[in-house]
């Protein structure tokens, strides 16, 4: 059977999770199977330099655009699916993947499982494990082929990057699809890190929904100052406007790897864990003992976060006064 691993990139870069999609497809493939990497972007240079683990690379490129909008990506992918008749299409859980996976599922009628962490293949059928309810429940699902799976970044190890033989690369001109597309990209804004760059911070104190209100953020900020840490927030905190967007950790924020990550009232939704689970030392405080953040924490505490912040601040103040 054929497996299509969907990959992404913008400008001249490829997204790191692209290599995870290829690795996932490779891990499911058996003798005689074919792993096809599908890429859509400005040019195929980075893709053909990295996707050597795939048996074939189909690259849809448009030199006029730094990014292919999901609507066009999905249309190009549909054409590839029509020609290649794959049994399985793996789509990353990303901004682009969110629009692509269900679009293809609706137009093909194929089953789709989202937020997939594990895949087991048994001949022509699959059993997959998907996350629900912010990672608090795992759903084991039976899927008939052909099917589409949307894969969580981080669920599979990255394939080793290496060049793919040009004979195994098929180029598609994406220009016509881009021109006739209904969704036009007009701008890409890359944040200005002059103010704060969490990705290089050595210590981070991150507040989640449990902080309760905007005024309480100052307590956490004071603690952060005492620890020489940057203050950061999970998505709900930033969505409420309590902290600026540049201080958001997670899928739609920054991916961080500090030496210390102190999570206060953060439940640890999969999207948050994606951004911080590789920190060297993770300390989590949450009154819910089943909060998924404890699955990645090195130390966990279930006390009230305000009591903890007060006690910890007192001790740090006393320590620095000596």
């Amino acid at each position: 059977m054929k497996l299509i691993a969907c990959t992404e990139g913008h400008s001249s870069k490829i997204e790191a999770f692209s290599l995870e999609m290829i690795a996932a497809a490779r891990s499911l493939s058996q003798a005689g199977d074919k792993v096809v990497a599908f890429f859509a972007g400005r040019d195929a240079q980075a893709a053909s330099a990295s996707f050597g683990v795939a048996d074939q690379l189909i690259a849809a490129c448009a030199a006029t655009s730094d990014l292919i909008p999901a609507e066009t990506y999905a249309r190009l992918l549909r054409d590839v699916i029509a020609v290649e008749s794959p049994s399985l299409v793996l789509v990353p859980y990303s901004a682009n993947g969110l629009d692509v996976a269900a679009d293809i599922a609706a137009r093909t009628g194929w089953p789709l499982i989202s937020y997939v962490n594990e895949i087991k293949r048994d001949g022509e059928s699959l059993t997959v494990v998907a996350q629900m309810y912010g990672g608090k429940i795992l759903a084991e699902c039976a899927v008939g082929l052909p099917a589409i799976l949307m894969i969580n970044p981080g669920a599979f190890p990255e394939a080793t990057p290496g060049p793919i033989d040009t004979a195994r690369v098929r180029m598609i001109d994406a220009e016509p699809a881009l021109t006739s597309g209904k969704v036009k990209m007009v701008a890409i804004e890359v944040p200005d890190y002059a103010d704060v760059d969490l990705t290089t911070a050595e210590r981070i104190v991150c507040v989640g929904r449990g902080i309760g209100d905007e005024a309480s953020i100052d307590l956490a900020r004071n603690l952060a100052t005492m620890l020489g840490a940057e203050i950061a927030g999970s998505r709900p905190v930033v969505d409420n406007g309590w902290l600026p967007k540049l201080r958001q950790v997670g899928k739609s924020g920054q991916k961080v790897k500090p030496k210390l990550y102190l999570a206060l009232g953060v439940s640890g939704a999969p999207e948050h864990l994606e951004g911080m689970s590789h920190a060297d030392l993770i300390i989590a405080v949450n009154t819910d003992p089943k909060a998924p953040i404890f699955n990645v924490a090195h130390y966990g505490a279930t006390c009230d976060l305000f009591d903890l912040v007060a006690n910890l601040s007192d001790r740090l103040r006393a320590g620095s006064g000596r």
Binding site: E71, A102, A105, A106, R107, P111, S114, K290, N295, G300
Partner: protein, 254 residues
């Protein structure tokens, strides 16, 4: 402009979730249901668009507590509110309800369908792309700013690492909202009481038209804890331990 905004009631995943006896669903008896957070932002964005350029906003709610949330939607500025009937005590599958939302979008001559980018129950896929594909309308997910200039929409999408991409597309369209341009507004008790008189329309679901072809065999709780050490629930002892842990790593003095 006619805007249809979808409001899904989902179990509060900050609360404790327990498995039902059949092992394939969660026990819904004592659960708190609340408006899907992203749908709350979609509603806010709909009202902001109405305030910015004039629009008729129809809110359609599905799930346990739909009436309550529709009154809230009316209090915040929705012009018409409709409850979509659904199977009781079942999760809300976006794949399943997409046909009903698409039919309603046509019936209401919607120019724009807004919903939250995702919900914690959409294991079978997300609503905005399903509805967009069924209607063959353009769709963009992860929207955090929508500006309408007549039928031309400018939509800014959040991507990872703080990268934001802005797209232009023409209505009719379907947008999956991540974050409203402003935080969802608070409504006063008096406004809520006033809005409680708003008649709630009823809609019956359309057959999904999409085969299931995938099924949940079993649900389980993730293995707890990993390898981390539990410091307990006493703030004073936890603080003492944390100071020693941090001091040992040279990150604090004890």
């Amino acid at each position: 402009m006619n805007i249809l905004v979808v409001l899904r009631m989902i179990p509060d995943s900050a609360g404790e979730l327990q498995l039902a006896e059949d092992g394939r669903s969660i026990d819904r008896e004592w659960l708190d249901f609340q408006l899907n957070d992203f749908d709350d932002h979609a509603l806010e964005e709909a009202i902001l668009l109405k305030e910015a350029g004039g629009a008729k906003v129809t809110a359609v709610a599905v799930g346990e507590g739909a009436n309550r949330v529709l009154q809230m939607a009316a209090a915040r500025g929705a012009d018409e509110v409709v409850a979509l009937q659904c199977e009781e005590d079942a999760m809300i599958s976006s794949r399943e309800i997409a046909a009903s939302i698409a039919a309603m979008a046509r019936a209401k001559s919607a120019d724009l369908v807004l919903c939250g980018v995702q919900s914690s129950e959409d294991v079978f896929g997300q609503l905005a792309p399903y509805v967009g594909a069924l209607l063959d309308w353009p769709h963009v997910s992860g929207a955090n700013r929508i500006v309408a200039n007549g039928a031309v929409l400018r939509v800014t999408q959040e991507r990872g690492a703080g990268v934001a991409v802005t797209y232009e597309l023409a209505a009719p369209a379907v947008l999956g909202v991540q974050t409203a341009s402003k935080a969802p507004r608070y409504v006063s008790g008096s406004k809520l009481r006033e809005a409680s008189k708003t008649p709630i329309g009823r809609a019956t679901p359309e057959p999904s038209g999409l085969e299931r072809a995938a099924d949940i065999i079993t649900l389980r709780l993730p293995v707890q804890g990993g390898s981390g050490e539990n410091l307990g629930g006493n703030a004073e002892t936890v603080a003492d331990r944390l100071v020693s842990i941090l001091a040992a790593k040279g990150m604090a003095r004890n």
